[in-house]
C-alpha cells in the first residue's frame, strides 16, 4: 500500500498495525548511517514500518499464498524488482539485525569498548548491550547520540596551527614522530599529495587516540579557531580500517585511495573535484557503488582529455 506523494515510503496496513501495536517510524533505517554513506540499507530510501520495540518476540507467520491486497503484507515502493511483497515481520527482523551488527562493528572499528561508547554517548551500557544483541530498538534520540560518537566526521576537533596548511602538516608529522601516534591524512592534503590538482586549505587527519593528539598539538601551539575563523587542522577519530589501510606517500601517512575518494565525495563542495580527480587518475581507487558529483567529473575529464 503506497502512501500518496512519497514513493519511498509505505503505509502500514491496518491488520499489521493491530498485530503490532507499537509502531515505530524509522528514518535511515539503522543506527549511524552517515549522510551519503552506504552501509547496508540505502539511506536515500525512507522506510517507515512496523518494528517491535523492546525485547523482540516475533510472531510466527504461516507461509501461504498471498495476494498484493493482503493486509498482512507490505510493499516497498521504488525498488524495481525489490518491490515484491515483503512480510512485515521479516522486514523488521532484517532492520533489527542491521542495527545490531552495524553498531557492534562500528564500535569495534573505533577500538571503543561498550563502556567507552556509553560514557561518550550518554547511553547506558545496559541499553547498548541490549541494542547490540538485538533485544532493543534504539529510539531516534539514541541513534543520534550514538552517531555523534561513531561517525568520525560527526564531531571533528577544529584547530588552528600556524597560518598555513604547511605549518599544520609539519605539526602533525612532528607529533607522530615524537609520540609515535598513528594517523592518516585525508581530503585536501591527501588529494594534493597524490594529484597536485587543487590547492589544499585544511589538514584533515584521522588520529588515535584523539585526546593524546589534541594534547600534543596544543603543546605545539595549536588552538581552537576564533569565531568565524577557518580551522586549518581538523582531527577525526580514526577507525581501525582507516589506519590499517593507510599508506606512506612523500613522507606523509595518507588514507587509502578508495577511502580518500569516499571521504571527498561525501564532503561535497570543492572536495567533489578531488574525488573525481583521484577516481580518474588512479584506477585502484575505484570501488563499486561510489558516487561522484557529475559536474566535478565532467570538469576533470574535460581537463584531462587530450587535444583532438
Amino acid at each position: 500500500m503506497h502512501r500518496g506523494g512519497d514513493p519511498n515510503s509505505f503505509e502500514v496496513p491496518e491488520g499489521v498495525a493491530r498485530a503490532h501495536p507499537r509502531v515505530v517510524a524509522l528514518r535511515r533505517a539503522h543506527v549511524g548511517v552517515p549522510e551519503g554513506h552506504r552501509h547496508g540499507v540505502d539511506p536515500s530510501t525512507t522506510v517507515e514500518g512496523v518494528l517491535p520495540e523492546g525485547p523482540t518476540q516475533l510472531p510466527k507467520v504461516k507461509p501461504r499464498d498471498r495476494s498484493p491486497g493482503d493486509p498482512e503484507e507490505v510493499r516497498v515502493a521504488g525498488g524495481g524488482d525489490l518491490a515484491a511483497p515483503l512480510d512485515a515481520t521479516f522486514l523488521a527482523m532484517l532492520i533489527l539485525l542491521n542495527i545490531m551488527l552495524d553498531l557492534r562493528n562500528r564500535r569495534r572499528n573505533l577500538a571503543l569498548s561498550q563502556a567507552d561508547l556509553s560514557a561518550a554517548s550518554g547511553i547506558s551500557r545496559t541499553s547498548l548491550s541490549l541494542i547490540e544483541n538485538g533485544l532493543q530498538v534504539p529510539s531516534a534520540d539514541t541513534r543520534e547520540a550514538l552517531e555523534r560518537v561513531l561517525n568520525p566526521f560527526a564531531e571533528p576537533v577544529f584547530l588552528q596551527c600556524g597560518r598555513r596548511v604547511a605549518e599544520a602538516t609539519d605539526a602533525v608529522q612532528a607529533v607522530a614522530a615524537r609520540k609515535d601516534l598513528p594517523y592518516a591524512v585525508t581530503l585536501d592534503v591527501a588529494a594534493w599529495v597524490l594529484t597536485k590538482y587543487q590547492t589544499p586549505a585544511t589538514v584533515w587527519v584521522y588520529v588515535r587516540p584523539l585526546a593524546a593528539w589534541r594534547r600534543a598539538l596544543r603543546a605545539k601551539g595549536a588552538s581552537p579557531p576564533e569565531d568565524g575563523e577557518r580551522a586549518n587542522l581538523v582531527l577525526l577519530r580514526a577507525p581501525d580500517d582507516v589506519l590499517s589501510d593507510s599508506q606512506v606517500t612523500q613522507g606523509l601517512c595518507l588514507v587509502s585511495m578508495s577511502r580518500l575518494v569516499e571521504d571527498s565525495a561525501r564532503m561535497g563542495g570543492r572536495h567533489g573535484l578531488d574525488a573525481a580527480r583521484v577516481f580518474v587518475e588512479f584506477p585502484e581507487s575505484r570501488r563499486p557503488g561510489m558516487r561522484i558529483d557529475g559536474h566535478a567529473m565532467l570538469k576533470v575529464l574535460e581537463e584531462a582529455a587530450p587535444w583532438t
Partner: protein
C-alpha cells in the same frame, strides 16, 4: 612556470584590459582552494595580444564550442579566455568597468567585481561554484552591493540558490560562521527562514 607566472605574463601584456574571473579572482578576495586553470576575460580587439603572449609561452590554442578560447600547455596548465560570453553571461563593458584591482601572488591584477563573480558562479550553479559563493559571502559579504547583485543575478535566482549556498560553507569554518551567513542571507531577503510546522496537539 606556475599559475602566478602566467597571471603575471597576462598582466604584463594586457594590464587592465584583461579581467580575471574564476579561481584566480576568488583567491584574490579570499584564499581558499583553487585548481591550476586560469579564466580571463578580454575584449575581442585585445584577444590577439593575449593569444600571441600565450603562444610565445609554449601554449597551444583551441576555440571551443562554448565560445571560449582554450590554451593548453602540458607543462604549465590551462588558460580559458572569454571574449563574447561566459556561459550564459555576456561579456560587456560594464563587467570590465566594474573590475577591481587586487593582488594575486604579489602582482596587482584586475579581477571581476564581487557581484559579477556571484553572477558567474551562480550562473554555473555547480556545487563547487556554490561553495565558492559561500566562501566569498562569508569573507566579503559586507562589501557586496545587494542592489547590484539582485540586478545582475536576479532575486529569484539568488533565492533559489541561497539555501544550498548557506549549507555549502565548508565545515572547517565552523557552525557559527554558517549560522552568521544564514542570518545575513535572511536579512537581505535571499533566504526564507524555515517555518516550524504546527505543533502536534
Amino acid at each position: 612556470m606556475d599559475v602566478a607566472a602566467i597571471v603575471q605574463l597576462i598582466e604584463q601584456h594586457l594590464a587592465d584590459r584583461a579581467v580575471f574571473i574564476g579561481g584566480v579572482a576568488v583567491e584574490c578576495y579570499v584564499p581558499y582552494r583553487t585548481t591550476h586553470d586560469i579564466d580571463v576575460v578580454t575584449r575581442e580587439r585585445d584577444f590577439p595580444t593575449l593569444k600571441a603572449a600565450l603562444l610565445r609561452a609554449s601554449f597551444s590554442h583551441r576555440e571551443t564550442h562554448l565560445a571560449k578560447h582554450t590554451f593548453k600547455s602540458p607543462a604549465v596548465g590551462e588558460v580559458d579566455a572569454y571574449t563574447s560570453r561566459i556561459g550564459d553571461v555576456p561579456v560587456d563593458e560594464d563587467l570590465m568597468r566594474r573590475a577591481r584591482k587586487l593582488v594575486y601572488a604579489k602582482v596587482p591584477v584586475s579581477v571581476a567585481s564581487l557581484e559579477d563573480l556571484l553572477r558567474l558562479k551562480l550562473s554555473a550553479g555547480r556545487e563547487m561554484d556554490l561553495t565558492d559563493v559561500a566562501v566569498l559571502l562569508h569573507a566579503r559579504r559586507n562589501e557586496v552591493s545587494v542592489t547590484l547583485a539582485e540586478r545582475l543575478v536576479g532575486r529569484d535566482v539568488l533565492r533559489m540558490h541561497a539555501p544550498r549556498v548557506s549549507d555549502l560553507l565548508p565545515q572547517e569554518y565552523g557552525w557559527q560562521a554558517r549560522r552568521a551567513l544564514k542570518a545575513w542571507l535572511i536579512d537581505v531577503g535571499w533566504l526564507v527562514p524555515r517555518r516550524k510546522g504546527p505543533s502536534a496537539p
